[in-house]
Structure formats: C-alpha cells, structure tokens
Symmetry: C2
Subunit: 153 residues, 2 copies
C-alpha cells in the first residue's frame, strides 16, 4: 500500500525536489498533528524530538516548499504567527476554520460551504477564483455548552 508520505515524496520529485531526512521528519510531524494548527516554531520543537540535529531555518524552508506545492496551507489568524495546515488529499480548496474567541480553539470545517457564493462572485464580479480563505470568529460548541450550564445570576 502506498502511504501518504510516499505520495508526498512523488509530489516533491515531480517538482524536482528530494525528500531529504529533514523534510521527511517535518512532514511526519505535520501528519501526526493534522488536527492542529502549528506555527513554524511549534513544528521545529516537535521535529527536534525525532531529528534533533535539524535547524530552524530548514523547517521554515520546508514549510515554504510544502506551501508552494500546495501540500500545506499557510494561514494567519491575526496573532503575529503563520500557521501551517495539511491540505486534505485531493482537496481543490482550502477548508474553513472556526476560531473561538473565548478558549482560542481552532476547529476545521472540511466541507465546502462556498459553492453557491463562489458562483455569484465569479459571475457578478468577473473574478476567476483560485482559492479562498474563510474563518468565523465566535463562540465554539464547548464554550456554548459550558455557559448554558452555568446557573443564571
């Protein structure tokens, strides 16, 4: 069976890049933390556990490379840090995010909710859409539940 890493290796080769040990270690960390939204620093600290000799600059370069190849997406939630998010295999568009203003959690919506909206934008604004970023800011289900359980004061 072909693993996810194998397929990423092929994508690199197709663009004439090698899957060096450092790059592989970085990709493994991303795969192991698919749910999270890691900053370059986060990735660096995690990669150091499995490849202690790696340098921070290499992590940055690798993440940049993976972004170029659309294997990961680089996002920015407004704190001063870029975060890196593995794209679903075969996904044409970037998934959406729910950022909780109370607890800071970031949840993902894999489903594409923008089909209709994109149709409108393409037609009405004569804009040829290549990708999108959609983030909702608000109160997540966890915090919602918690506050509805609170006794009224």
């Amino acid at each position: 069976m072909e693993t996810r890493i194998d397929r990423i290796k092929k994508q690199l080769h197709a663009a004439s890049y090698k899957l060096t040990p450092q790059r592989e270690a970085t990709v493994r960390i991303l795969l192991d933390h698919e749910e999270d939204h890691l900053s370059a620093e986060d990735v660096y600290l995690l990669v150091k556990d499995i490849a202690p000799e790696i340098g921070l600059a290499t992590v940055y370069r690798t993440l940049e490379l993976l972004t170029e190849l659309k294997i990961v997406d680089k996002i920015n939630f407004g704190d001063g840090v870029s975060r890196y998010d593995l794209r679903q295999e075969g996904a044409a568009h970037f998934h959406h995010h729910l950022v909780c203003l109370e607890c800071g959690a970031v949840d993902e919506i894999q489903e594409d909710l923008l089909g209709d909206v994109e149709g409108v934008v393409e037609k009405r604004w004569n804009f040829q859409i290549k990708d999108h970023r959609l983030t909702f800011h608000g109160i997540c289900w966890r915090c919602n539940d918690r506050s509805s359980q609170d006794p009224p004061q």
Copy 2:
C-alpha cells in the same frame, strides 16, 4: 450636518477616549483612503504630510484603538503586514475581499454573501458567530479582460 469624523469622535468619547489631533489626523487619512488597504507604515507616511510631528508608535496605538472600537478592521493578506480597513458605518460584519494573484489588487465586496452559510454553521457546528473573514484569491476582472484580449499563441 454631522460629519463622519464627528460620529467617530462620539464613539471615542463613549469609550472615554479623546480625539486628539494625532488621532484625528490618522482618522482623516483613513477616510481619505477608504478604498485602499493601508499598512501601519503606509498610514504613518501619509499622516506625516498633514501632521509632521507624529510618531510611528502613536499611529500603531491609534490603529489598535480604532480596531478595538470596531471602527476599523485589521486584516492580513499573508504578506507579513497588517492592514487597516475602515468598516462601513453600521455594518455588523466585515466585508469580503478579492485578492488578485496577478496584479495584487485588492477589491472589496460590501454586500454580505454569507447569510445562508452562517445559518448552517451556527446550527450544524453549534458555533455562535461574532464575525467572519472571507477572502478569495484569483484573477480580477482587469486581468481577466486583459488576457482575453491577448492573441492566442
């Protein structure tokens, strides 16, 4: 007639802040460049023309303050800079953006296209939406027109 500046002055006073000359100069620049998406540095350079003694830190502080009061929105298009965008008066939500990958232009969609989508998200993910960010990346109408006029090679 009450001007836009007057109303902003009231908003500041309501939160017990003053409209100092520096703040006023900064707001004027934002009003004069409503269509643009200025970085703090951009604003600083423009403000210096009408208030030469102003400091960069004051501009940052003012933009931060205006963001807190929801008079402007702070956005980030992925280059390393925050940009500041006047909110439409009375708008509950932030407007959408079209970023052209070819010429870099940033156009605005004032209309709220997310009504239905937000309904779905609130119900299905039990997420209480406070605000949103929606940006499309693609080719703008100007570049579309230009390339359709190009002779096929």
